[in-house]
Symmetry: C2
Subunit: 124 residues, 2 copies
């Protein structure tokens, strides 16, 4: 019973001191940028598409409100994860794609997807 308390911690980086407060925890920090109901899904779709238009995203996430989609895109843009390119046409055309920093988030998406495919069913 005592010996298995060591096993599952291998490979996890322990914090120097026990500081998990809001401003100092790596997990919390990362989630400030990519947390929430829609962000990771949005990042995944834009990655799959390479370049996405607004209406395309709206169609694929068919249960998101348009206002919510706009807000999420603005925040991802503000945080340097995606970039927005608007063309001076009519009707308007706007394209979204991942920035270089946004691309560095793909391993997070992938490991989450892998976990779902391999282990999530065991939780039921």
């Amino acid at each position: 019973m005592e010996n298995d308390t060591i096993i599952h911690n291998q490979g996890l980086t322990k914090p120097e001191k026990d500081d998990y407060s809001t401003n100092n925890c790596a997990v919390t920090n990362a989630l400030k940028i990519m947390g929430g109901k829609w962000k990771m899904l949005l990042i995944k779709i834009i990655a799959d598409d390479c370049v996405s238009r607004f209406g395309e995203l709206k169609r694929k996430m068919d249960d998101i409100a348009q206002t919510t989609l706009t807000i999420q895109l603005r925040e991802l843009e503000r945080d340097g994860i995606i970039c927005r390119k608007a063309y001076a046409e009519s009707p308007p055309r706007v394209e979204y794609k991942l920035t270089e920093i946004g691309i560095t988030l793909l391993p997070v998406i992938q490991v989450l997807t892998d976990w779902n495919d391999n282990y999530c069913r065991l939780t039921k």
Copy 2:
């Protein structure tokens, strides 16, 4: 402009059809279990501790409300991520630890931590 649309998608598993709706997306599914403001942090702390007591968790996450902590722990328990062991003592003693399935979530935590350490600063 066209050629760089391919690069960043390497290694990402594309969905068969463009189905990102609420019930069918792997990312969304995984986040149903470990999403939210506190879950991943909780999983990380319990992993660091190997075994955590309630008051210990409360102290380390000093800005979480006690009621919220209880709810998060109950949900993680319900979803098979942690297990709860209460001792018939007084004052009560309750211990939380990761289940085997909970342990499979650690790579998710790790990759999130790594991203924060390596790339998050670039978003500023």
